[in-house]
Symmetry: C2
Subunit: 469 residues, 2 copies
């Protein structure tokens, strides 16, 4: 692990302890163990774990690792699903979970300055008290950190109207793999001085630099929100409704889709009652001025209506809205009861290709005899494709692997992308070259080398191995 002949493992540990003190370093394998996994269920044991509290500590830790060539893996709360924080090269896991301070909330400038370890939910609660929110809202909001959200460019249902972290961050403070302290972006909502390193770091999965502070762009909470549920005979009709909804003026703040399998599951396992013959379902939310809500519901109902529509219901109270969401909420627990393991992909296609995607996935499910349940953020064309499998059945696992390859081929043939919000990490690293051409990947590899010349930051993640020089 330690590639410097001049420093022993013991000396490295001593140096680490000099930076943060003994209390915030772990080296006993039993203590390090929990920091070796993420939500991909992959695991690798790190040699050390360190808890940083300040920008300066992070800088010193990076300089130390860079000096002695020790892999350094930044980590929030480990809720990622791609293995991006699993230390497969060993080395040091840098936990940022204790850097969870909200430094400033500034409603007039619609900005909030936070440390990377604050959870998404803590940000939302603090913002809400001033009448604002931060748009990215992954399902794991209660646990995941903002640093993680930035590392993966994680979004959620609201992205259809309000964008992803790349559209909702003003500036960053960070330390590169070479230990350089950089600042990028500005404290203003416009700014064109210098190259845009802010967005380059967002989504780079800790492979370029470690973010030590972020200035988030806040959005005012809408005055009112309304929820509708539309059920359709089949995917084609639901897909056509999504297309119509996205080409009319009123952009929903959530436009979620469930396919036939997902609907069946929610009904069978979740006790949800839907119209007979429901083959696809849309959850639609609109927000805006209270005075516009009735008209908005009329417009949405009109756009959602087509020959395949079975029923569309609008909630009048928060209780009714929760009732409508129950089909969607029942899904995740139901999935867990159905198969010991799911491979959860988050492919994305142009909205117009949603019916072709779902149709193709149904064909692949039959061809490979794999149950596939599809649901997700239809307004962005971002679908969570869940392959339900039994990891103890080697034949099924092999079929699932082949099926997955075909899923990716299908997505790329539809002008889509392998990941909408989960990121690449380890899970999709070896598929990236199917989406991005070799020239562009080579350039990305060279850029990585400028940030992290010795390749210590999160090695073997995000870019295909052969794109790194």
């Amino acid at each position: 692990m330690l590639n410097s002949p001049s420093v022993t493992t013991q000396e490295f540990l001593t140096n680490l302890i000099q930076i943060v003190g003994e209390q915030r370093v772990r080296f006993d394998p039993a203590d390090c163990w929990p920091y070796g996994y993420d939500n991909s269920r992959r695991h690798a044991l790190p040699q050390w774990v360190v808890f940083a509290l300040t920008h300066e500590e992070i800088r010193d830790i990076i300089c130390l690792c860079n000096h002695v060539h020790v892999p350094l893996i930044p980590r929030g709360r480990g809720t990622g699903t791609t293995g991006a924080t699993v230390p497969i090269s060993g080395g040091l896991v840098l936990s940022l979970e204790r850097m969870s301070c909200i430094r400033l909330i500034d409603p007039v400038n619609r900005a909030m300055i936070v440390e990377p370890g604050v959870t998404n939910q803590e940000v939302q609660i603090a913002a809400e008290q001033r009448g604002f929110f931060w748009p990215p809202d992954p399902t794991s909001a209660a646990f995941c950190t903002v640093g993680g959200n930035l590392a993966y460019n994680s979004a959620g249902p609201r992205a259809v109207k309000y964008g992803t972290p790349r559209e909702n961050v003003l500036g960053l403070r960070a330390v590169t793999g070479a230990g350089e302290e950089i600042r990028c972006g500005s404290y203003t909502t416009k700014g064109v001085v210098g190259y845009d390193l802010t967005r380059l770091l967002i989504g780079s999965e800790g492979t370029l630099a470690i973010i030590t502070e972020a200035t988030l762009k806040l959005t005012p909470l809408a005055e009112a929100k309304r929820t509708l549920r539309a059920t359709y005979r089949d995917t084609e009709s639901a897909g056509q409704a999504v297309a119509t909804l996205m080409s009319q003026p009123l952009t929903p703040c959530a436009l979620e889709f469930m396919d036939r399998q997902a609907v069946t599951l929610a009904q069978a396992q979740g006790g949800v009652i839907l119209p007979t013959g429901t083959g696809a379902l849309l959850m639609i939310e609109v927000d805006g001025p209270a005075a516009a809500m009735e008209e908005a519901i009329t417009q949405i109902k009109q756009a959602a209506d087509n020959a395949g529509l079975l029923e569309i219901v609008a909630a009048h109270t928060p209780q009714e809205a929760a009732q409508l969401w129950s089909a969607r909420k029942a899904l995740s627990p139901a999935l867990r009861t159905l198969a010991p393991k799911k491979i959860n992909e988050d492919v994305v296609v142009p909205v117009s290709h949603l019916p072709a995607l779902i149709g193709g996935l149904e064909r692949l499910a039959r061809e490979f005899a794999i149950t596939i349940v599809n649901f997700g953020h239809a307004g962005n064309g971002n679908i969570h494709v869940n392959l339900l499998i039994n990891p103890d059945d080697p034949l099924e696992m092999e079929r699932a692997g082949k099926c997955l390859e075909q899923v990716f081929e299908l997505v790329l043939s539809l002008n889509g992308s392998l990941s909408g919000e989960h990121g690449v990490g380890l899970e999709k690293r070896d598929f990236v070259a199917r989406e991005i051409d070799a020239t562009t990947l080579n350039l990305m590899g060279r850029l990585k080398a400028q940030f992290d010349p010795r390749g210590i930051l999160n090695p073997q993640k995000t870019l295909p191995l052969n794109s790194l020089t």
Copy 2:
């Protein structure tokens, strides 16, 4: 100019003609002359001008220039104000104005694929026919190209609600300074595979790569729009109103400011009648569902009201709206009558610091005996600071130079940025190091070298000279 001993000027010209044909190459100085200026009124004569029509031609031209070390300056319509397209190192100007095709309009996917030479206005017209618009709206929209908008990350009044090009582009096709053909971004509104080169290229002023195709993200046109004009006793009251407007839920789609000098000018030269004692003016536009407009006007009037408010008027018809805008529209022609030259800056500060900025500018105007007229996009804190000067008065020019330095110091002391939307080019290049630290600039210089190893693309622009390796 030509740094390759193996190729003569004549051979370079022959090679260039081989790529595009004789009809699209200029080398007579009289023909090249008009391609040596931009709207900064700077000028330098290029040795050659070439008009490209395709991605492949651009690739071949870059490869040729890279091979023989000839400076290559991409250019749209020359409406930039910073000298970014002025060929101060001589070389070849690559005009993109003939690559003006709109390749695809796709309402369902809210996307439009365009060549870089299409004008902003042509994009807006085409989008409008499908019920959409592209948010960036610089004042020069009728003439400026989308390629130029992307190069500078140009915005305009709508950015306060709808963002800048960085928030409104899905993907790019481009050729780096080394002649590498790259694709970045995706055709979907979410996508996290690979590093974000899209935003890195946007705002890089043609110093990293030449954009050959852009996929723009379209936004649906709002159903209705209403215009209000608020006049205030002084800047402090107007600034306070801006702060209140930006911290309430209803984000205006334009929030423009005029200071006392601007108001006086519009009244004296433009024949506009405003309440007696008007010391500052806000133009406020709101858009959204028609059903919400009356309530929106009430909310805006409430937020805009404070002790310094003299009058607030809402237009009921497009004619009334045009009438309200007349004060703002009278300003630019009026400015031209007042002084032979204006130095037009576009600094940006956090919205909360607008009163401090305007107050500081008034102080500097007195101190340096320079007339300064301030107006601009208050909702983004982006103010156009106009120093009115006589270029034939060397003493005044010297005072203006010193004053400008103090303007920049003031802006940076208020946590602002030197440019909100005009960019850096030549005009602000030597001030960039005051805003961005040396470490970050050095990294930017190294990234530039990865895109453009021989430094042929738009040399001496955007980054301070000493940050380039």
